[in-house]
Symmetry: C2
Subunit: 339 residues, 2 copies
Amino acid sequence: MITIALDAMGGDHGVGVTVPAALQTLSQEAALKVILVGQSDVLRKELTRLRAAENDRLSIHHASEVIAMDESPAQALRSKKDSSMRVAINLVKEGVAQAAVSAGNTGALMATARFVLKTLPGIDRPAIITTLPTTHGHVHVLDLGANVDCTPEQLVQFAMMGSILVSAVEGKDKPRVGLLNIGEEDIKGNDSVKKTNELLRATGLNYCGFVEGDEIYTGDMDVIVCDGFVGNVMLKTSEGLAQMITHFMKQEFKRNLLTKISAVIALPVLRAFRKRVDPRRYNGATLIGLNGTVIKSHGGADKLAFQCAILEALAEVKNNVPERIGRELAAMSARETLA
Amino acid sequence: MITIALDAMGGDHGVGVTVPAALQTLSQEAALKVILVGQSDVLRKELTRLRAAENDRLSIHHASEVIAMDESPAQALRSKKDSSMRVAINLVKEGVAQAAVSAGNTGALMATARFVLKTLPGIDRPAIITTLPTTHGHVHVLDLGANVDCTPEQLVQFAMMGSILVSAVEGKDKPRVGLLNIGEEDIKGNDSVKKTNELLRATGLNYCGFVEGDEIYTGDMDVIVCDGFVGNVMLKTSEGLAQMITHFMKQEFKRNLLTKISAVIALPVLRAFRKRVDPRRYNGATLIGLNGTVIKSHGGADKLAFQCAILEALAEVKNNVPERIGRELAAMSARETLA
């Protein structure tokens, strides 16, 4: 049995999304227990509305405060010790839950998780890693915004963590690791990526060299590493471009009666297409490098998207991701000491 | 009459694209003269194949060498003094042509243009600026890869140049300028963007603060500024995502007989949609900040795309972009000296 603590108050939609998503996931996953963390009166009301109740796999854990989406992380960390987010992470620290999932304020989640759980030995700073679709399958990219300035040594740690995550969750033996740059030749890029490139060649990782931006969606890497500034811009640019494309396509299909009819005829295809690139199915970014599993859901997540984030937490706990990262990093540093 | 020198040998397709694009543009633009720069025998053969000949608006200027797409810029600059690219830019320097257009090696083009034409007074380094579609219209983004490390002062110069370009070509009085960051609050981002943010507030530009990645395609800025590393990753990521989306849509429409029929029915809509996001229509990035107009076409440009790059050159020459940038920068520095 795996227990997951949900920050039930977090996100743009709060309990209206987190509670239905929890119920749905519980009905599908027999080995899952969920603790809904938040204001107990609000949570009880939502359960009643959904004709559900606490049971041996679903419990409420009261937390009196809520962190706002635009609250400063430092402020939230200092003053809201009984927030749903903080209490959910505390439950992981205490071993009551094996993972925490939150759709709340990213900065506050990272600051709180780092403060409460601490980073794994050998890891300077945690990173945010997520899965993105590609023409051939999918790819894991980190960091997505936790670290605006990264040293080459930190980027190497990110590469190691990403590689171990993919090995653990997908059973791949030697995940292919690429370093994001603005050209594929060794002379391209800034000093930081050049130095990181050298360091990565000296690791035991299956490091495949530089990749350019277009290879995120069309390449064949398992893990792509970049600093959090570049990763965040890349991810949000992708969101914006997808929105624009959807907007234009809707406009064209709504132009007149004829185009509306063709939209109806093309609907099954458009649905199948949308399902393949549906960002909700890729929801759930991991705060990687911590003593424990913490998953960040998109703030605007709906029920399906939030379910995907819970399932990501479940997969990582099942596969002991933090333990494996800790163990393999210790083994690496032991090898280096011997060498 | 405006004369444009084409690096007719550059790009993945060379004369097979540059020459037909030149002929087509000449037939549409009565006030345009084109000089095809490259190996005269190859160019003459291509003209013959297209049943065209030199005339008072179309001439051939021989250049014996060609720069390969993967050649080192330093090497190309040092050893290929008679390359089609170098000679085309020389013609701008000599005043024979008012602009040069090339689909060749970006690094070599930037190095050569900078060496031959020099930067405008007050500009440390040229940048690459291009137009991207948005839900509301379009936006100009720079730098796209000429400068991997930028100082805040250089980013401010980029903002000024972008703003002047939009004023000149689009007749906008006070173009809205945004600075790309990973959040909109003043505390977000790395030291470089924070410092640039402060400097931009002190300029006379219509500076609107930080914008996030998604606002490139969905926001309402006229100019978005970023360093060349971030800009290049952003642009190439967009290319990759668009490719992936196209790939999935084609796959879904080709799945079976029924989906193929719906594709035929939806074809007019799909065509109209494609036209709106067609990257060929946005082809033609400007090397901005030089004493002269140099336009970089995508290496893989086809005839339509290369035509768009020629038209971009024409628009910038008509609107005296380099002169206006030079004049306005001089005025700004005079104001600062007086203040």
